[in-house]
Symmetry: C2
């Protein structure tokens, strides 16, 4: 649950978190199975909301203790979140579990959490076709070894520019991407917020600006919304190649551009696949040479 | 003359400055007439160098006093220049003059200098087809009124993201561009360094990432090199429309990507139009959806 303050207002204990933002974006492409944990204080209306949105909650655990909470604020250019408070709650003892059927799921996204928990979930899966992973500075600093070991078993590593620089110890983002590639993932995605994203692989580099918008209300969850669009699109793609990867990056970018237009999930709540397509058509004009 | 220190080395009293960087880029497209002032300490070898490169020096004034000098350094990510010292020298008393024939030149770029000096040069020109203008934080702060008055008579305003934010008092770059558009220039170019550039006009927005490179040695002059490619290309374009403006932004981007690969003018010195075309072809693949 997120408590967020931006120059445009504030919200208290909204439904938030990586898994929610990712799912709300990926659902526009495919069935999404959410694997997460919440505490007794988690409002039933949030469970109902996700359920209504078609997100499959078989592996959402509700347990004794308090739900993970993040409190943050943004100033000025809305690019950098200032964390006011973090309450890990039930997340500290999270042991992800999935149903027997879910072990056969082919597309897995390990959203930001302790790398040991990510590893735990990955170990349940039988033979995924594509595994994506996000992390954050806290784990890069405090669980560097576990994170680097985990990267060997991952296809796509999604990082923001600062995280990419921190983990690679390279300032230049192309050098950073090369170094991260050497740790295992064959696809490196470096998210640069309002400046777009770079996809780096051995075969090609793809650079895409963000959708230019003058309406940024709350950027919380934009990165996970991007990842949801990216993974969601690829889950339906017949082959994962240059063309489908580029399209996946574009869908992620467009999904994220909607997410920032309102607080929390207020915008992605109302979002349809058709909205994505309309804006994608517009976006193509804006970026086409 | 520039004295520059980056993590990759240093140079003392190199040939530099907006006019030189702009000209070395624009010369790849068209004849360039440089209007500038230097002092008695300006080495003849620099004059000979520009002359050899085909830049027309009719209106380069050499006068009593010392040449403008900038000393700066870059650290870490090479995005932000730290000015160590600035010596204005003969620039303080610069009254640009052009020959009778030069008054008929159709494409004018007013590189970064006191807005009163820019105005002075502009007033000499008979009926330019396209006038571009660059400025910097110092003038935005100390000559805001003169700069804003000048913008009314300019077609293209080129600013980096920080300058755009400072002059418009808007954090969001699209809002900043809109506000700057209202000051006069029908084309606003916001340069974002390693993150590319946004072109804003009433008719369309165009967003282009930078050329992804892992070789950044010295970013000094990248913005002027960009402007040189942009204006140079348009000077040869039959019509100035959406297609030619987009191409101009791309040529500017490519020219700038070479400039940063070595100190000062060491790279653009050896650059040919064919180098631009080759990299542009590569760049199109990197950005095409």
């Amino acid at each position: 649950m997120d408590t967020v303050k931006t120059p445009f207002g504030q919200r208290k204990h909204m439904l938030g978190g990586s898994a929610a933002h990712f799912s709300m974006s990926a659902r526009l492409f495919t069935d999404v199975h959410l694997v997460a944990i919440v505490g007794r204080d988690f409002p039933q209306k949030y469970v109902d909301f996700l359920d209504r949105k078609g997100i499959i909650l078989t592996s959402l655990i509700k347990t004794e203790g308090r739900t993970f909470k993040w409190q943050g604020q943004y100033e000025g250019d809305l690019n950098t979140a200032l964390t006011v408070n973090t309450e890990l709650g039930v997340l500290t003892a999270f042991k992800p579990r999935v149903s027997a059927a879910q072990k056969n799921i082919k597309h897995l996204f390990l959203a930001n959490v302790d790398p040991d928990i990510q590893r735990h979930l990955l170990s349940h899966m039988r033979s995924p076709r594509l595994v994506g992973l996000d992390s954050m500075n806290f784990w890069i600093k405090h669980k560097r070894g576990a994170l680097i070991r985990l990267l060997k078993d991952v296809d796509v590593y999604v990082a923001n520019d600062q995280e990419a620089r921190d983990l690679s110890a390279e300032h230049n983002l192309i050098r950073a991407a090369k170094m991260l590639r050497s740790l295992g993932p064959r696809i490196i995605l470096i998210k640069k917020g309002e400046h777009g994203v770079i996809l780096y692989s051995d075969e090609f580099i793809f650079s895409l600006p963000a959708y230019p918008t003058d309406k940024v209300i709350d950027p919380t969850g934009a990165g996970d919304t991007f990842a949801g669009g990216f993974m969601g699109y690829l889950a339906c793609a017949r082959t994962i190649n240059r063309a489908s990867l580029k399209k996946a990056v574009a869908y992620g970018t467009i999904a994220a551009s909607f997410n920032v237009e309102d607080f929390g999930l207020e915008k992605t709540n109302r979002l349809t696949r058709k909205d994505l397509e309309t804006r994608l058509t517009l976006f193509k004009k804006i970026i086409s040479l």
